[in-house]
Symmetry: C2
Amino acid sequence: MRLWDPAAGAAAEAHDYIAAMLPDLAQHGLLGDMSPESTLEAITIADSLEEAVADADYIQENAPEQLDVKQRLFSDLDRLAPQDAVLASSTSALLPSAITEGLTGRARCIVAHPVNPPHLIPLVELVPSPWTAPETVARAESLMAEIGQTPVRVEREIDGFLLNRLQTAVLDEAFRLVDGGYASVEAVDACMSDGLAPRWSFMGPFETIDLNAPGGVRDYVTRYQGMFMRLADTMRYSADWTGAVLDTVEAGRRARVPEKDLRARQMWRDRKLMAHAAFRHGQN
Amino acid sequence: MRLWDPAAGAAAEAHDYIAAMLPDLAQHGLLGDMSPESTLEAITIADSLEEAVADADYIQENAPEQLDVKQRLFSDLDRLAPQDAVLASSTSALLPSAITEGLTGRARCIVAHPVNPPHLIPLVELVPSPWTAPETVARAESLMAEIGQTPVRVEREIDGFLLNRLQTAVLDEAFRLVDGGYASVEAVDACMSDGLAPRWSFMGPFETIDLNAPGGVRDYVTRYQGMFMRLADTMRYSADWTGAVLDTVEAGRRARVPEKDLRARQMWRDRKLMAHAAFRHGQN
């Protein structure tokens, strides 16, 4: 695997970051058969984009989320990479059609959207443009599965893909509940972490309801759709997330974690995610 | 603790169910200082409602979700229980005001909504009616915390409380995505289980975004609200959950778990939940 970044020293920094992470991953059983040393040896730094992609099968682009930057980079990739290499973008905010429309090799281009941090969260959303070849999707999918990620296919491109649409639905209701004075920030978070997420962390929402009525999902929907539709009808608006509710949300969060401790809390999060990844790994 | 059920043999069945569960809970370190034997001895069966509540501090009602049934039962409880006992309903579908409006002791009544199965999912939503005394909320909260549950306060009663409102938001978008042909049932479930839920299972949605921008939640909302509002604007309708999409969802689920295997899959779910509860317990 080769890293390249146009900013001086950036690829070396990434290499150091990976090196620092590997012992922890190995200790949690998350490197498979590889040792930290052999893993690190397999990751080299290229001096130019040309060198980086020279004989690549698969290229993962991680440029800033600016359409013109990604368009230019994909144009370079399409020119420099072997003709049969898959060109994948990490974008979460741009549609693959917008990035690749004008390219000769646009059939081999796709979005492969990882979730941060990708070494601890397995999901990768595969989003084709209207002109992405089925073989491109299949090759990205099999590569992601091979390296232990969980690839999911988005059948047609849509703004936000799947993950950010589901996240938006939750956040929108979370802001409505706090804005309406129904619950504190902490109560909403606890409802998710100690109520909904334990089941969703290994089943997802459809399997959860499928197992929650004797006759499966049809039985469940038939029994409860009245309640769900009544609730959904009260969710057709958004609170203004930047309004007074943001003061409330910020105050709630800063009471728990002062701004100066945010960085330390992010490291706490990553340790929890690593423990969770190791737990999941042991469960499989 | 005393169990009572008007149906002949039902309380004894519940007692047997608990007895069968206790060795597993002990093995997973989920009984605290108690042994299965001492736990079971502390749970007795009462022959009448009167006997069950005679000197109770706290009563948890679990009758069917029918308003008239719960109203009658709460009227009996208010008459029979010691005057200072807290009367709590397990309802997920009825508002506490509707159940308790006419009662003399309505200030001591509250909803304490557990999540199934309550011995493996810690969340309990505490929902006051307009006339619930603050002391009633405080006493229910401290009892739930004492037995290792996670009580959260709903500040004012609202249809669906917090948990089912958040669940509705997710399910509504999940059905929209499948209905629109954007994703399979399995892809949506994987997005949650392998993407969103690992973080939400210990942080909840607000803490997740608070840690996802350098300056915390205000920084995050300022950066991304445009994207979130654009997505939310496309979620102002519900797909008809019972329409053609239900055939698709059911087919997707039955391809994974045939109807005859649903019961076994529910047991799989409960084993996974127990392992997850033990993992969380070890993390604290």
